[in-house]
């Protein structure tokens, strides 16, 4: 009997009925993780998970996470468990503390069974640039299609049924896009809702904790566990933590939903066909759906703006990876030589290029024309979307223009040919909006998703509309197990 491919409630009920024990679940998880053929794992917590389950506090039995094996993207610090951010720079780094997210998950009774692969230092959207190479999409047994990144390993683990929950991070669309490509729910709550303490920073003004589940209820429940102020994170919000599961079935009658015409125009016919069906389903529920326009110049500016801001912030945030105090170290005759040799050998070319772009964008010569102009453009972009939110409760569009692209021909470099539908999701990182991807259809047996975004702090309303649509599509708890 497989349990970990089921929703949280069903797993929990099985525990309460004494049909299965947390130890059984962990053994099931580790057994399947050991057979993973998607390259989803940086580290498998064989010993740590068994130790944790043996020490599990039974007073936490009411938590739906009690005894449930989960996986964590390898950019979250885990005490005494290797944490590499899929970079050779940190190949044997072992943190001495837990990220706040990890602490809260452990306190809720969850058991970490693995640290998952990612694009190196979370920079990239293909799931191909980590030190262990490509992560595969479980839906494509021919291994030709990407799963997307940067949270590739967590997406692969959840969609292949190894665990019901995979923690990731989302700086541009790093959870919401892979969720689209792998038939999952990918949720990024409002900026500041979940503490980022202990999560390796990529671009601080855009980074969000985000995660994958296989249904909206599990996402809402997880927010109950993870949300809340944390003094250790300066960007942590003070809003009250509510029960995010209680309004999932509330009527959406009269809710106003905007679809961005320019995003839809860039999608494949099959994507549009399935998407239009979901619009009809939303209308059946009483929602008012309108097609609206945003200036194409603004939409096309999203990716270059994201690229300049994220590269600039990443250059600064990763300056601590010097090869001296922790992580990898290469030989040299002086400390400068040690730094140069280590950083030259251990960073991939993609990371080095992004650091140079970021550094030049911050330089005195180019700062105004690159970094500051990108920051100004960010405001224009956020203002444009906020104008839509003045009249509408949600923006809803396809989460990706097509199903997962092929590895072959995928270009991780800055590409002048900007497809609006492929890059627009970062607007929610610019504005800190809650944003959720849910599966809406298939093309050639590969899934794709739709994405709802709401005003900041409207996480509960967002989960509500996603849950209503999920019931209509019936596309929940999708699993593509390893063969």
């Amino acid at each position: 009997m497989r349990y970990l491919s089921k929703p949280l409630k069903e797993i929990h009920d099985a525990i309460l009925r004494n049909e299965v024990t947390p130890l059984d679940l962990v053994k099931e998880g580790l057994s399947y993780v050991g057979k993973d053929n998607n390259n989803a794992f940086e580290y498998i917590c064989n010993k740590e998970a068994i130790d944790a389950v043996n020490k599990l506090d039974s007073s936490k039995k009411n938590s739906l996470l009690y005894g449930v094996p989960i996986v964590i993207k390898d950019c979250f610090s885990t005490k005494s468990i290797p944490t590499t951010a899929s970079s050779n720079m940190l190949s044997d780094y072992i943190p001495c503390f837990d990220a706040e997210v990890v602490t809260r998950l452990k306190n809720a009774g969850a058991i970490i069974i693995g640290k998952t692969t990612m694009d190196e230092l979370a920079m990239g959207g293909s799931g191909t640039s980590g030190r262990k190479g490509m992560t595969y999409n479980p839906w494509d047994k021919r291994r030709k299609h990407i799963i997307g990144g940067s949270s590739c390993g967590s997406a692969a683990a959840v969609s292949s049924g190894l665990t019901p929950i995979g923690i990731g991070s989302d700086t541009g669309d790093s959870v919401r896009k892979p969720a689209s490509y792998s038939g999952l729910v990918g949720f990024k709550p409002t900026w500041g809702r979940i503490s980022r303490y202990g999560m390796f920073q990529f671009a601080s003004s855009l980074d969000h904790v985000a995660y994958f589940t296989r249904n909206v209820f599990d996402s809402a429940y997880l927010l109950n566990v993870l949300a809340g102020h944390d003094n250790k994170d300066f960007s942590s919000g003070y809003e009250d933590v509510i029960d995010y599961t209680k309004d999932l079935s509330k009527s959406i009658k009269g809710k106003r939903i905007a679809v961005i015409k320019e995003v839809l125009d860039c999608c494949s016919p099959k994507t549009i066909e399935c998407f239009n069906k979901t619009l009809d389903q939303l209308r059946v529920e009483g929602a008012i759906v309108d097609i609206v326009s945003i200036d194409e110049k603004i939409l096309k500016a999203i990716y270059p703006t994201y690229f300049i801001i994220s590269s600039s912030e990443a250059t600064s945030n990763n300056a601590n990876l010097d090869g001296l105090k922790f992580g990898s170290r290469c030989e040299g005759n002086s400390f400068e030589e040690v730094m140069i040799n280590t950083r030259t050998k251990c960073f991939s070319p993609l990371i080095k290029r992004r650091f140079i772009i970021g550094s030049l964008s911050l330089s005195k010569t180019h700062r105004e024309e690159l970094f500051v102009r990108a920051q100004k453009c960010r405001r224009l972009i956020v203002d444009s979307f906020n104008k839509v939110f003045e009249k509408y409760d949600f923006i809803y569009c396809p989460a990706s223009p097509t199903t997962a692209p092929l590895f072959k021909g995928y270009n991780p470099r800055f590409n002048g040919d900007v497809n609006v539908a492929d890059n627009y999701l970062a607007f929610a990182n610019f504005g800190g909006n809650p944003s959720i991807t849910i599966p809406i259809g298939f093309e050639n047996n590969m899934p794709f998703g739709g994405n709802f975004t709401a005003k900041p702090h409207f996480d509960s309303e967002l989960l509500n509309v996603a849950s209503i649509l999920e019931k209509h599509t019936g596309l929940m708890n999708l699993v593509k197990e390893n063969e």
């Binding site: 044997d92 072992i94 001495c96 503390f97 900026w191 500041g192 003004s205 003094n231 942590s236 919000g237 003070y238 110049k297 096309k300 500016a301 990716y303 270059p304 690229f307 300049i308 001296l324 105090k325 990898s328 170290r329 002086s334 400390f335 400068e336 030589e337 730094m339 140069i340 030259t344 070319p349 080095k352 290029r353 650091f355 140079i356 772009i357 550094s359 030049l360 330089s363 180019h366 024309e369 690159l370 102009r373 990108a374 920051q375 100004k376 453009c377 960010r378 405001r379 224009l380 203002d383 470099r413 800055f414 590409n415 002048g416 900007v418 990182n429 610019f430 504005g431 800190g432 900041p456």
Partner: protein, 98 residues
């Protein structure tokens, strides 16, 4: 904005304490051309220089100053555990004064 040449990129890499292959520098030159092209398009957007730069999604209101209390202290052992070369309680580096 003017084209960024290979010499500028090499100097930037040097300041960032790493090096790349000649091929990578060449690729970066062409990547930068595209970036400049895109940023020039952005500079043409009406009103882009009339707004203030946006540094964070929105302001968080802080109502407290953290007390200056010593807590969550790491031991020296923990701090240096990840260093490759350690002598006593210090991280060892190549000799500075020859």
């Amino acid at each position: 904005m003017n084209k960024v040449d290979k010499k500028t990129l090499k100097l930037a890499a040097n300041r960032l304490m790493f090096d790349m292959s000649e091929e990578e520098y060449d690729r970066l030159v062409s990547e930068f051309d595209l970036i400049i092209e895109q940023m020039n398009l952005i500079s043409d957007i009406e009103g882009v220089d009339d707004v203030s730069p946006m540094s964070f999604p929105f302001e968080q209101t802080f109502t407290y100053l953290r007390e200056d209390e010593v807590k969550d202290v790491l031991s020296t052992e923990e701090v240096i555990r990840n260093a490759k070369d350690v002598k006593g309680s210090q991280i060892k580096l190549p000799r500075v004064i020859k």
